[in-house]
């Protein structure tokens, strides 16, 4: 079981029903990866799927390649951030 923190920004926060952050856990028997963390988030908030198509994902304030998420290991107390592009000004 891996417990991780998530930070939601802009439209990701809207999709997470106005939460700026929360702690979730991945516990499916397989080694936890960034991909499984994202699956966990989209299972809870279906609207996050559309947000994630254009959002950046960061792990511990470090940019992550979305194409490589199943290879990025997730440890307990890691922080995942979902950062959609903000276009306004």
């Amino acid at each position: 079981m891996v417990e991780f923190k998530i930070l939601y920004f802009a439209t990701a926060r809207d999709a997470a029903l106005d939460k700026s952050s929360e702690t979730l856990e991945v516990d499916d028997g397989r080694p936890a990866t960034l991909a499984s963390a994202v699956e966990c988030i989209t299972a809870k908030y279906p609207k996050m799927r559309a947000v994630l198509e254009s959002a950046m994902v960061a792990l511990n304030e470090d940019y992550c390649d979305k194409d490589n998420m199943s290879n990025i290991k997730l440890k307990s107390s890691d922080t995942v951030a979902i950062i959609p592009p903000v276009s306004g000004g």
Partner: protein
């Protein structure tokens, strides 16, 4: 004397005085600039700062990080600021104040009353005036030594490269995805650093793109954001100072690039959030993506494209008018609704489908507020209210007449109640057609 009449008179007089002030300022600035150009040209030739420059920038010159070298670097640079709104206002003001030599401004819009809570380069007197003209006035008042070039034009694929060529750096202070991708691609093609900021509601972002081997906008966000029509119509809004914070930081990043300090920093995305503690977070970025469509090793985007098509929305942050109800008999005009409302014998329900935040700003008398995105949750309440009508009509209203159409579709199709009409053009239309004292927002 009637005080209303006197107020009008005084306002008219003030307007004349302001116009006169504007004319005098313009002539004064032109003359002073000419005077300064002579001594500035001499100083430039000798690679020195002029007397005026030393006096004006003295406090900056005393900062070791800047000094006379940094000040000359600012003076000898030209920066293009695209957008003179919430971000561009403070950014352009600070860049001119700090002594950037040439400042280009791009905007095609005119100043609107609703801009003034955040676009602090503009004034109430400038409402209706072209934004670049208004911005030029603000800058020339602050620092006539800054050469301002106004581009009163909509930036698009046909003119972007032409306008951007000749500048050392571009600042993205725009308000829509299509223009952001355009500016990014043009900067990559012209090899220009891009200081990009954005802000909405209570959040902001800031990055320097295409600089020193770092990523471009497409490296980070290869897929444009979804076109959220709902977000536009629910009027996301923005707190005045939030783009202000980002715009100021954009000016700071420009200084870092022009004085060479930025070259020593790793690329990062700064995230600002009014609601978070701490307010700022910094995300470390990688270098440019070798597979990036525009700045990668084998670019697929080699010419500027149709960015409105790429993003699914135009180069503005306007919300379009929806055409959902095909049958015009399902809509009523504001004037027609006014007749119904004024007839005390005509029983009906006025259903306001905007969110509670907007309903709190203003509403028509006797309206029931059930936001459209709560229709499913509050279906029982809705059906009860309709039952109590005994066949009398339901009128739906929203701000612009878009969501109200969706409400009619719901009530007619899902609830099976056909005595349902929306008020075309919504409360904005109400303010135009029926009651000019009704708050428009």
């Amino acid at each position: 004397m009637d005080s209303r009449k006197r107020i009008c008179e005084l306002k008219a007089r003030l307007s004349c005085i302001r116009n006169e002030e504007l004319e005098i300022m313009n002539e004064l600035c032109a003359l002073e600039a000419a005077e300064n150009t002579v001594s500035a040209a001499k100083a430039l030739a000798e690679d020195k700062l002029s007397l005026e420059e030393i006096r004006r920038y003295s406090r900056q010159l005393l900062v070791p990080e800047i000094g006379t070298k940094g000040q000359r670097q600012l003076r000898d640079s030209s920066v293009l600021v695209v957008g003179t709104g919430g971000l561009g206002s403070p950014c352009a003001l600070y860049l001119a104040a700090m002594g950037v030599g040439t400042l280009g401004l791009v905007d095609h819009d005119t100043v609107d009353y609703s801009n003034l809570h955040r676009q602090i380069i503009h004034t109430e007197a400038a409402c209706g005036v072209s934004k670049v003209v208004s911005a030029c006035t603000g800058l020339s008042r602050l620092n006539p030594l800054c050469r301002v070039r106004a581009h009163d034009v909509l930036l698009d694929s046909s003119n972007a490269k032409e306008i951007m060529r000749g500048y050392d750096l571009v600042v993205d202070a725009t308000d829509n995805a299509a223009t952001r991708y355009l500016i990014n691609d043009a900067c990559v093609m012209l090899n220009l650093p891009l200081v990009s900021g954005s802000a909405v509601r209570l959040d902001g972002q800031l990055t320097v793109y295409n600089y020193n081997g770092g990523p471009c906008y497409r490296c980070l966000f290869p897929t444009p954001p979804p076109v959220d029509a709902m977000a536009n119509c629910s009027e996301t809004g923005v707190l005045g100072v939030v783009p202000g914070v980002i715009g100021c930081l954009q000016a700071m990043e420009v200084v870092k690039v022009l004085t060479g300090r930025k070259a020593a920093e790793d690329p990062n995305l700064l995230i600002f959030s009014y609601k978070s503690q701490p307010h700022f977070r910094s995300i470390k970025l990688r270098s440019r993506k070798p597979t990036c469509a525009v700045c990668g090793d084998i670019p697929t985007v080699k010419e500027l494209v149709d960015y409105a098509a790429f993003c699914g929305s135009g180069p503005n942050d306007n919300a379009p008018d929806w055409k959902i109800l095909d049958d015009p008999s399902q809509r009523v005009s504001c004037t027609e609704y006014n007749r119904v409302a004024s007839d005390s014998m005509a029983k009906h329900l006025l259903l306001d489908v905007r969110d509670e935040v907007q309903f709190d700003i203003c509403s028509l008398p006797n309206s029931l507020n059930i936001p459209i995105d709560q229709f499913d949750q509050r279906r029982d309440e809705l059906e009860q209210a309709i039952r109590e009508l005994d066949g009398a009509p339901v009128y739906t209203v929203c701000r612009r007449g878009n969501l109200s159409q969706l409400a009619v579709v719901y009530i007619r199709n899902k609830l099976g109640y056909n005595q349902c009409y929306d008020i075309a053009k919504g409360l904005v239309g109400w303010q135009h057609e029926v009651d000019s004292d009704f708050p428009a927002y």
